[in-house]
């Protein structure tokens, strides 16, 4: 009979409408209540046996991100010593497909290179979130952050992250990547032992356990589903030179241990120059750029005139 197909189709629509609501009622607890609760909202994950439409009311509710979720790179530093894991070897800069990583290797007074970065930039507007830097970093210094709410009002400096903004402590990393952190515990213990052996004199076993401590802590605290650290305040547009920028506190909604907001690295490194007002990010004054443009136009018109093809405007 003509029309049965349409009726059947409408039947499916009706069934789904009903299923969407009934599924919530039938489930005890409801699929929307068995979730992680953080100060930034509920975190949900769609069950595979759900029927009907599953909706997440962003931003009050958020999707649970898997551990391997990758967004923008972050630089991990050792929480107990305050040392950057990064040695400025440059592999991330070489392997980065869009080449959005810039590194200046640090030097001592004599000009001899030191294995740590003096400057480290990631241009988030170019970054394609491929995760190669984290994958190929031999020192586990780069990891992918989960913080995806990066919108700013300006590209520069809002989306150019420098060393300080990128730095996060190991505890932050451990909280974000619990499985990976656990898997790496053995390697870290070995490394600590090696470091101890090479140091020789400093005998006490304090350090090795200190390195392992955050792991256990992080796992335990993750279960507590502590509130995440507050997001850093939005950055002001080109700030005057003297004012250091706010440290990137690893602001992220995903479960972060309560005690996270703790120690932040006190860096003595020089801050990158902030462009003065009226200059482009590389420091070329806009007035000069406008002048260049005028000159170019002038040259162009002169050339046209010489060719006898003057433009009438």
């Amino acid at each position: 009979m003509f029309g049965t197909g349409i009726l059947k189709g409408l039947g499916v629509t009706l069934k789904r409408t009903v299923a969407t609501f009934v599924d919530d009622l039938a489930r005890v607890p409801s699929r929307y209540t068995s979730v992680l609760e953080t100060s930034q909202g509920k975190i949900l994950r769609q069950p595979t046996d759900s029927r009907g439409i599953f909706t997440i009311q962003y931003p009050e509710e958020r999707r649970q991100l898997p551990e391997r979720f990758r967004y923008i790179p972050m630089l991990v530093y050792e929480e107990d010593t305050g040392e950057d894991r990064c040695t400025a070897c440059g592999i991330c800069a070489k392997v980065c497909p869009p080449q959005c990583i810039w590194i200046v290797r640090d030097q001592d007074e004599k000009g001899k290179p030191i294995t740590r970065p003096a400057e480290f930039y990631i241009d988030a507007s170019i970054c394609m979130s491929c995760g190669f830097c984290a994958e190929y970093c031999p020192f586990d210094a780069i990891k992918m952050n989960h913080d995806y709410e990066l919108a700013t009002y300006d590209r520069f400096p809002g989306l150019i992250f420098n060393l300080q903004e990128l730095s996060v402590p190991t505890s932050y990393y451990a909280a974000l990547y619990p499985k990976e952190w656990e898997a790496g515990a053995e390697a870290r213990a070995k490394k600590a032992a090696r470091a101890k052996r090479s140091a020789r004199k400093k005998a006490p076993a304090g350090k090795a356990t200190a390195a392992e401590k955050p792991a256990a802590q992080a796992v335990a605290e993750k279960k507590k589903e502590a509130a995440p650290a507050p997001k850093p305040a939005p950055e002001p547009a080109p700030a005057p030179k003297a004012e250091p920028r706010a440290k990137h506190a690893g602001g992220h909604w995903s479960p972060i241990p309560e005690g996270y907001s703790g120690p932040l690295i006190e860096s003595e490194l020089p801050l990158p120059p902030v462009p003065a007002e009226g200059t482009s990010p590389s420091g070329v004054p806009w007035s000069r750029i406008m002048k260049l443009r005028e000159q170019q136009l002038l040259r162009y018109r002169q050339r046209r005139k010489a060719e006898g093809k003057e433009v009438k405007l």
Binding site: F2, G3, T4, G5, I6, K8, G9, G11, V12, T13, R16, R45, Q46, T48, D49, I53, F54, L65, P66, R68, F69, R70, A88, G90, I91, A93, K94, V95, C96, P97, Q99, I101, W102, I103, V104, R105, P113, E119, Y121, D123, M128, S129, C130, G131, F132, E135, Y136, I160, P272, S280, P281, S282, V284, I289, L292, R293, Q296, R304, K309, V311
Partner: protein
């Protein structure tokens, strides 16, 4: 001379056309351009190579052992839809100062768009092509960008990694490096003040038959797109109408063009993998797969992935196919006016699959998952369990439900049956691929014709349909989803434990000198990657045989004679993604 060639190539037909084959190398046979059409005709008619898969060119400027006399090389990959198996590769070498050769569009009409692309990028002229003009770039563009001596704006170095980044890599804004663009070149005699863009290209008019019995009306030309919701992105159809009947259609693309292939030549081998994600952004896993397959052919033993990685690749590729077909079916209904209800129902399963991708690869759409000689990350038992849940318990039910409310729906039948007819002969001749080809009743599937990876182990059918219309394409997609579920079930049952990478992951890829063409049966059709290596860290040439681009060959013949409203559905059933079409 010719005897020797037949011997060295082992190809009996090398001598069929006297003087056609002049040379042969490891990869293909070199054909004299004067005899090209004759030889291609012979291959098509007598040897069964009826399918021109990929047509591209390579610029060998400065390549070891090359002279200006053979600077350009046009490469044809021919296959047989009847015999399957490996095809043959024809090469035509062209001198620098005279880059022209006869067009093959009369032998293989599917060469149409690809020849235009080569003309656009290399300035190689195909004599006898009916509308040889630029396709991706605008008419005032200076130079031919894929030539090795062409430099882009913000040019830094020939190859990545750029030295400005390390060890003294102070951040510099790209836009500042060339204030008001000294290396942006305009064509000779081009003047921004007096430039008048050329008239929009008028489609070639196909006169309706005199006895069609319709009223004679004025012709009008209508622009569909680029900002039209039905064009799935920024695609433009210039349609000539006689009343409401389409009498001519000209596809216009390039609005999303970024010269992916030039970027690919600058990139390292590894660095191209995330770029392939951005081609057909609905099925990034398949794109990864095709590219790594092509490069692995040049890597020798190091390029052989371990067993578990092969299984993971197949699982991901088949999940991607389901995602893509779900999307495609949903949006076909969108084009028909069923606004978003069917689309939302279909993408619900897609969400779950994307969650799986995210859990294993870190990103839902830009997966960047495969590596040379393996995959990037292993899956754990929890992931496999979730995957089994979806594959065994959900997907089939979902496809059944889709069929319940769509397959026999009268509106769908009225709008789709008999619309966009493409005969099997035309489909092959126009190089159509994937569901397009199979919906014309041609059982050609790369997974069967030239099994790659471990597809020869699985039991599945190549879904075909004799309808040759939009409805048949819909049904083929539904059928392919069922076959994918079948493959997934087998793969999930058989997946072994073991390593996922051949050797240690390394960021430097050692690739032998040579050429390779790796193709996978992507969701949209044969997705091929043709790579040329000079043994260095970067590809010399990186070409993509993009199925959604080449399927557009069929758009004009399919729409002529139908009503203008049907063109939307016909385009929707081709299932194009502009990221791949425009590259």
């Amino acid at each position: 001379m010719s005897d020797a060639i037949a011997e060295t190539t082992g190809l009996p037909y090398a001598d069929a056309v006297p003087g056609a084959v002049v040379d042969a190398d490891e990869y293909g046979i070199v054909v004299n351009r004067d005899k090209l059409v004759e030889f291609a005709l012979h291959l098509r008619n007598n040897e069964g190579f009826d399918y021109l898969s990929s047509l591209t060119a390579v610029d060998y400027l400065g390549f070891e052992g090359r002279t200006p006399e053979d600077r350009f090389e046009v490469v044809y990959h021919l296959f047989s839809t009847k015999k399957g198996g490996d095809g043959i590769v024809l090469k035509v070498r062209l001198p620098e100062n005279d880059p022209q050769l006869p067009s093959l569009t009369l032998v293989y009409p599917g060469a149409d768009l690809q020849e235009r692309e080569v003309y656009d990028f290399y300035g190689i002229v195909f004599n006898g092509h009916r509308r040889l003009r630029r396709i991706f770039l605008w008419d005032g563009f200076n130079g031919y960008p894929m030539r090795k001596d062409w430099k882009e704006a913000y040019y830094e170095e020939e190859h990545k990694p750029y030295k400005s980044r390390w060890p003294k890599g102070h951040y510099q804004w790209a836009e500042d490096r060339v204030p008001w663009g000294d290396n942006i070149k305009y064509p000779e005699g081009w003047d921004p003040d007096t430039f008048v863009p050329p008239e929009p290209p008028l489609p070639i008019i196909h006169e309706p038959p005199a006895d069609a019995g319709h009223i004679k009306t004025d012709r009008i030309v209508v622009n569909m797109g680029p900002q039209h919701p039905s064009t799935h992105g920024v695609f433009r159809m210039i349609v000539a109408l006689d009343g409401e009947t389409i009498v001519g259609l000209e596809p216009e693309c390039g609005y999303l063009h970024r010269n992916h292939e030039k970027i690919g030549e600058r990139n390292t081998w590894l660095g191209n993998i995330p770029f392939t994600d951005r081609l057909d952004y609905l099925s990034s896993m398949s794109n990864n797969f095709g590219y790594v397959l092509a490069v692995e052919k040049l890597m020798g033993d190091r390029g052989k992935p371990p067993e578990r990685a092969e299984y993971l690749r197949v699982i991901m590729a088949e999940l991607t196919r389901i995602c893509n077909h779900m999307w495609s079916v949903g949006f076909l209904l969108n084009d028909l006016g069923a606004f978003f209800t069917p689309a939302l129902y279909t993408i619900e399963e897609r969400e779950l699959i994307l969650d799986l991708f995210e859990a294993v690869a870190g990103s839902r759409m830009m997966c960047n998952y495969m590596r040379f000689g393996g995959v990037a990350r292993d899956v754990d038992e929890e992931w496999l369990q979730r995957c089994r849940d979806i594959v065994f318990n959900r997907l089939e039910k979902k496809i059944d439900e889709l069929e319940t409310y769509l397959t026999n729906n009268e509106i769908l039948l009225t709008r789709c049956v008999g619309v966009g007819y493409l005969s099997p002969e035309d489909a092959i001749a126009l190089s159509a691929c994937g569901p397009m080809l199979r919906a014309s009743g041609v059982p050609y599937d790369v997974r069967r014709a030239r099994p790659y990876s471990i597809y020869d182990r699985f039991d599945f059918n190549v879904v075909t349909d004799d309808g040759c219309d939009v409805y048949a394409r819909y049904k083929v997609r539904i059928g392919e989803m069922r076959e994918s579920v079948k493959i997934l079930k087998q793969a999930l049952d058989q997946i072994p434990e073991g390593p996922i990478m051949n050797g240690k992951p390394a960021y430097v890829t050692r690739v032998q000198k040579g050429e390779a063409y790796g193709a996978v049966e992507g969701p949209k059709g044969e997705l091929g990657f043709y790579v040329v290596s000079d043994g260095s860290d970067n590809p010399w040439r990186y070409h993509i045989r993009a199925p959604s681009y080449i399927n557009l060959n069929t758009l004009e013949p399919m729409t002529i004679g139908y009503k203008v409203a049907d063109s939307v559905v016909i385009l929707g059933a081709i299932d194009i993604v502009l990221g791949e079409t425009d590259r």
